[in-house]
Every structure is written in structure tokens, then in C-alpha cells.
């Protein structure tokens, strides 16, 4: 519609459309069926039947695509909701990632900070308390022994877990030694220079926890160590 299209042209156009509908119906009413019914060939009827069948298959394909698209949308929405739920809960997140990465076989570890407490769990060994700011920097397993190292900028602590039948000894010369209770287990605490050592066993494994961190922190870490069961916070 250009700038010169007057309102009368518009009114005329509307009349034309109205008249066209009337004319169309008049023409249709005056169309007569042929006096003689034509006889269509068998080949033609087959061709028409194929055309209609093709249309049916096209409709079916369209339906399948429509349904599949809608199912895909619903599935996608469900995955998003499930993923949001799983990753919002630390325990679920850990379990999911452990499952995906095969952490129980490969000794992969995840260290999550829930804002209150960091912890370590590798499917067999769990450390329920890791002081803030510490990160695992070494994780070595040799036969039945495991060595873990945690560090921050200035401090560290190491945990050695060994088969109880193996030999392990430490030089306690010049160290302050005391006996402690660690979750009902008798533990030995030793201190020399700036290094604190905590040793205990649970009749399956022997544990040696040492580092230059505060004594109370070391004991807290020691008390949080669990083995051979899924870590429970």
C-alpha cells in the first residue's frame, strides 16, 4: 500500500473481495457434473492410491517427529531438573562424580567445601575434617599402603595408612610423647621441633598422621579418619 492509496481505494478493495467471494460461489454453483461418468484406468487409480498412501506415510513421519521433539523437550527438562538437584547436594554430587570417574578403582579423590567443612573420600578411606585452606597435593598408593599429603601456603600434614602386618617405626628421640584417645582407640602423640605426629591402629591398618599444623587440628583430623566404609558426614 503506497502513500497515494486513498480510503476510497481501500473501500473499493473491500468491495472487490466481497464480490469475489460471491462470484466464486456463483461460479461453483454453475459448474455441472459431466453427463457421462468417465472411466478411469486401473493404472490411474493405482497412482492415486499410491499418492494417498504417500500422504499417509508423510503424516505419520510428521507425527513421529512431532512426538519425538516433544519427548526430547520433556527429557531435556527432566535432565536439567535432575542435574540441578544432584549438584546442589554435596553427597549426591560426590556419589555421582565418583560413579562417573570410577573413583573407587582409580583412587581419584574429591575435596568439597560445603562452607563448613572440607573432607576427603576415595571410596575406601575418608577424612572427615580437613582444615580450611588445605588442598591435597600428593596421593600415592603402593600395594596396601597409602600416602596422602595436604598443604596450604605454609603448613602441611601427611597421612600414611599401612597394613597392620607391615613394620613401621619412628624415631622418637627428643620428642614429647603422650597417649591419647582417638574415638576409643589408643593413640600415641609425639612432638618434636615443629612436627607433630599421631599414630594409631584399628586392628586392620596402622595410621600415621603428622605435620606442622596445630596439635588440636591434628587430633581433630585423626578422629575424623574412617576406613573400609563409606564416609558418613
Amino acid at each position: 500500500m503506497n502513500g497515494n492509496y486513498s480510503s476510497f481505494d481501500e473501500a473499493f478493495d473491500m468491495l472487490l473481495t466481497e464480490a469475489a467471494v460471491k462470484a466464486d460461489e456463483n461460479i461453483g454453483m454453475n459448474l455441472n457434473e459431466p453427463a457421462e461418468k468417465p472411466e478411469f484406468s486401473a493404472e490411474h487409480e493405482q497412482r492415486m492410491a499410491r499418492l494417498f498412501e504417500h500422504e499417509r506415510r508423510k503424516l505419520l513421519r510428521r507425527k513421529i517427529i512431532k512426538y519425538s521433539s516433544r519427548c526430547a523437550c520433556v527429557l531435556f527438562a527432566a535432565v536439567i531438573v535432575a542435574a540441578t538437584g544432584i549438584f546442589s547436594v554435596d553427597a549426591w554430587r560426590a556419589s555421582f562424580l565418583n560413579f562417573m570417574s570410577g573413583v573407587q578403582k582409580e583412587n581419584t579423590d574429591y575435596n568439597f567445601d560445603d562452607g563448613e567443612n572440607q573432607y576427603y573420600f576415595d571410596g575406601k578411606l575418608g577424612i572427615g575434617y580437613i582444615p580450611e585452606g588445605f588442598e591435597i597435593t600428593k596421593n600415592t598408593q603402593i600395594e596396601e599402603s597409602m600416602f596422602l599429603k595436604f598443604e596450604n601456603l605454609k603448613q602441611y600434614f601427611d597421612l600414611i595408612v599401612s597394613d597392620i602386618n607391615g613394620d613401621f617405626s619412628i624415631d622418637t628421640e627428643g620428642e614429647v610423647i603422650e597417649n591419647l584417645d582417638l574415638n576409643g582407640i589408643e593413640a600415641i602423640f609425639a612432638y618434636r621441633d615443629n612436627i607433630k605426629i599421631l599414630i594409631w591402629n584399628d586392628n586392620s591398618y596402622s595410621y600415621t598422621l603428622y605435620g606442622n599444623i596445630d596439635k588440636n587440628e591434628l587430633i581433630k583430623i585423626g578422629k575424623s579418619v574412617k576406613n573400609d566404609e563409606k564416609y558418613q558426614k
Binding site: F8, F12, V21, A23, E25, N26, P34, L51, E55
Partner: protein, 184 residues
């Protein structure tokens, strides 16, 4: 959620096409045979017409029999002309006796008087019915069936430019017709 899946309508398009074929195949064949004068070509025209009909099935209101009838006949007639063009390539649409030159169609007239006359719709309808088929078909497909110019070009197997020209000429012929009938 259920409504999300239940929104798929039970599509009976195939049944609709079969009904249209059953009800109008004879009429369409007759129209095509009048043009092609050949039984097999007329069958081809009916088949090819329904390929087009299927594409625009949603535009067909079966309950309006006269309109459906005319719509199918328009498609079939033009399909038949198209087949005729292919079999007789020199029979160019632009040179048929139905063609009216741009000059004969008349210059643009004042539409005011036509609009003001109370008998205009009836007379306009008559003018449209009297249009040569070459213009009437395009005019009805555009004005009544609401096809776009591109769709009309596809249905009639002509260029979009040809569609535009025919629509313009149809309107001019109608105005000239109205002026000659001394409505104004």
C-alpha cells in the same frame, strides 16, 4: 503435561483428500479433458492437481461445496493448460486471445463512484464472473482463497511477475466493466 501431548490433533487429512477425490474427480477430469482432448493426459492432470491440492488442503472448506468445486476446477484447469503448454510449446500463454493488452484494460479510474453505488457488490461479482479465465482464476485464488502470489505462481506454474500482472489487469478490467455498465 498431558495436554502437551494431547495437543496433537487426530489428522484426517488423508481421508479428506480421498473424499475430495471421490466427490470431484469426474468434474475435474471433464474440465481437463475439455482442454487436453486426451483421456490419459486428462488423468495426468487430475493426478497432478491432487498433488497441489494436498499441499493446500488446509485451505479447503469441504462444507462450502460451490467454493470447493470452483477451487478444484481452477487448479485442474490450470494444470491441464500447463500440460498442454508442455506438449505444444508454441502455445504460449501470453499470446492467447484471452489476453487483453494493458492499454485495452483501461487507465486507472476513480473508484469513488463505484464505492458509493449500492448495487456495486452484485455488479462487481458479475464483472468478476465475466473476467477471462486467465485473470479470473488468479483473482479468485488471491482474493477468495487467500493464496500468496508465490503460492499462486506455484499452483499455476507461472512466474510471480505474471501473477502480479494478471491481478493488476483483472482489477483494471473490472473497473472498465463497471464504467461501461454505467453504474456510475
Amino acid at each position: 503435561m498431558i495436554a502437551f501431548f494431547m495437543d496433537i490433533k487426530s489428522d484426517d487429512d488423508r481421508e479428506k483428500v480421498i473424499r475430495l477425490y471421490a466427490n470431484y474427480k469426474n468434474l475435474m477430469y471433464s474440465e481437463a479433458n475439455n482442454i487436453l482432448k486426451d483421456h490419459h493426459l486428462a488423468e495426468d492432470a487430475v493426478h497432478d492437481s491432487f498433488v497441489k491440492v494436498i499441499k493446500y488442503l488446509h485451505k479447503i472448506d469441504e462444507s462450502n461445496v460451490p467454493r470447493t468445486r470452483n477451487y478444484l476446477v481452477i487448479i485442474c484447469r490450470n494444470t491441464a493448460k500447463d500440460i498442454l503448454r508442455k506438449t505444444l510449446p508454441l502455445n504460449n500463454d501470453e499470446n492467447t486471445s484471452d489476453e487483453i493488452s494493458f492499454e485495452e484494460a483501461g487507465r486507472k479510474s476513480d473508484t469513488l463512484d463505484i464505492v458509493l453505488h449500492k448495487e456495486s457488490v452484485r455488479e462487481l461479482a458479475k464483472a468478476i464472473e465475466d473476467l477471462p479465465e486467465i485473470y479470473r482464476d488468479v483473482f479468485i485464488l488471491r482474493r477468495v482463497e487467500g493464496h500468496s502470489r508465490e503460492e499462486i505462481a506455484q499452483i499455476l506454474n507461472i512466474s510471480v511477475e505474471a501473477v502480479k500482472k494478471r491481478l493488476t489487469r483483472a482489477k483494471q478490467i473490472i473497473i472498465r466493466h463497471m464504467n461501461r455498465r454505467e453504474i456510475v
